[in-house]
Amino acid sequence: MTGLDLVARIPERDVDLTLGVPAGRTLALLGPNGAGKSTALAVAAGLLRSPACRVGVGGRRLDDVPTHHRGVAMLSQDPLLFPHLSVLDNVAFAPRAQGVRRSAARAAAWRWLDEVGVSGLAQRRPGALSGGQSQRVAIARALAAEPEVLLLDEPMAALDVSVTPALRQLLRRVLAERTVLLVTHDALDAVLLADRVAVIEHGRVVEEGPTQQVLERPRSRFAARIAGLNLITGRWHGGALEGHGLRVQGVTDGLALAEGSPAVAVFAPSAVSVFGNDPGGSPRNAWPVVVTDLEPREDRVRVRADTRLGEESLAADVTPAAVADLGLEPGVRVRFAVKATEVTVHPAGPDPEPPASR
């Protein structure tokens, strides 16, 4: 497997980005509309070329390598299914193009269609699909290419909420083995699928780092809008996540977690209540913490605090009135309480620790 190095410099679009994805990792691109996310993907795929752009995969320079030899597959923002081929043949297109025999390619296509939940539509023409169905077929088609490097532009767009969790799991599994550049507008996609996040604004990378760090302590305006999540990594033991000396109760969104398997708990700062002492009541999670920091933002205040063990930093959003009520200031000892129903626990892949390459 191979990493991806990218310099996308397209002056006509006011885009100048330098991005790197270590081999086998996933980098999520976040950013407002027109920031240059799709442009970065187009450069990586070789669809946009300019002398100022550089694309390298596994150290090999791809600048002059035609798109089809790059070992790069792309899911674009528009499904663009081939109108003259059936759904099945659309998905079988990439294996066929790579020389797989027809029957084997079709078998693979069936498998992928099944994974995205639309195998019942295999014989249809793309013109006879709904928007979400087309998107799912497009996902299957891109995944069926089984490329070294995968470029995904808003894969979850147009999907209904009932399939999103399952598709996220599918992508998690598939992306784990590939080098991936993932464009998304949803922080949860970044949390669950990406190792690192790059935030792009006006064609420039304004922030880049490990997912957890960027989403927990966003420095850029845009990231702050979409993120500011609490993430706690650990392992699943006895129906709760244990890590960094904390025991976190949460809901698993219907996904099975094996005892002892790595997992991550995600909850929003706004879901965290602050109490002077143990509140009792329904919240399952209440941890003693020491306030380290107060950040006023618009109509609320973000309270940062370390757990007693000093290992994990958590954030809570409260109203200014609450700050006054509880006399919050750095050094004050309080309890952070979160309802278990506000915490989602997700499987965290085979290696929950940051890889050495970071």
Partner: protein
């Protein structure tokens, strides 16, 4: 299907159809039916018809094999002089066919540009059936090229780009995406080329002559008949029309109709 056309469009459309069809009707009305069968089944007419069908089919095939690549190159690449080339490719359309035949003679005839080379290779094309095909290809190919190029431009290259990102080589893209996408335009072009080949006369008689069974195609037969007997010429033309309707009807309607049925 779901969109209605402006009503007023029917007036010019009807006029156009009438203008194109009325002369056919007039022709049919003038045919001397009692003598018709005898005329059109004479050995020379039969030879001519058979030769026309054979050469027309081969010419169309050659036009497609050579013309589609040319159209693709014109539509999908940019190179210096491309604009000029695009105009030049149209010229066989403009030159009166007889002059085209002369130009072919100047090129491939025994005393032509390539005549020496061809003779050295032992190839003699003029006044053979091969020459008929060459003349037809010369006049018919521009139709195929121009209408296929128009279709390629109208279709755009979005799907080709997608195919490339899925790892399809340029050849695969061409075969599995480009060609199917422009199929309606390509079919129109093919039909145009076939029709033009079938009706070709001037270049053929000049470059290939009018030898019965070898180079005398149906239009040449019609021309020769007309000198003596215009009625016979009209009758033979009607045969040409009938053949064309049959061939075009069978090869063109079905794929287009099939495509239509698939929802857009």
């Amino acid at each position: 299907m779901s969109i209605s056309l402006p009503r007023w469009l029917l007036l010019p459309a009807g006029l156009a159809a009438a203008y194109l069809l009325l002369p056919l009707v007039a022709m049919v009305l003038r045919v001397d039916w009692p003598g018709f069968l005898g005329l059109v089944t004479s050995p020379s007419a039969r030879d001519a018809l058979w030769l026309s069908l054979r050469t027309g089919a081969v010419s169309t095939l050659v036009c497609v094999l050579l013309g589609v690549p040319l159209a693709t190159v014109l539509a999908r690449t940019r190179f210096p002089g491309q604009g000029l080339l695009r105009s030049l490719v149209l010229l066989p359309l403009v030159i009166p066919p007889v002059v085209g035949g002369i130009a072919l003679l100047y090129t491939f005839g025994r005393r032509g540009l390539l005549g020496g080379t061809l003779e050295a290779l032992g190839v003699e094309v003029a006044f053979s059936t091969v020459a008929v095909v060459m003349a037809q290809v010369f006049v018919a190919m521009p139709f195929l090229v121009v209408s296929t190029e128009g279709a390629l431009r109208t279709a755009g290259e979005r799907y080709e780009v997608v195919a490339a990102t899925l790892g399809a080589s340029p050849s695969t893209v061409f075969r599995r995406v480009t060609l199917p996408t422009v199929l309606p335009g390509l079919l129109s072009g093919t039909v145009l080329a076939f029709a033009r080949s079938l009706g070709e006369f001037g270049a053929t008689i000049t470059f290939a002559g009018s030898l019965q069974g070898t180079t005398a195609t149906l239009p040449i037969q019609i021309y020769l008949e007309r000198v003596d007997d215009p009625d016979a010429a009209v009758a033979l033309s009607l045969v040409l029309v009938l053949v064309a309707v049959l061939v075009i009807g069978l090869t063109w309607q079905n794929p287009v109709a099939r495509r239509r049925r698939a929802p857009a």
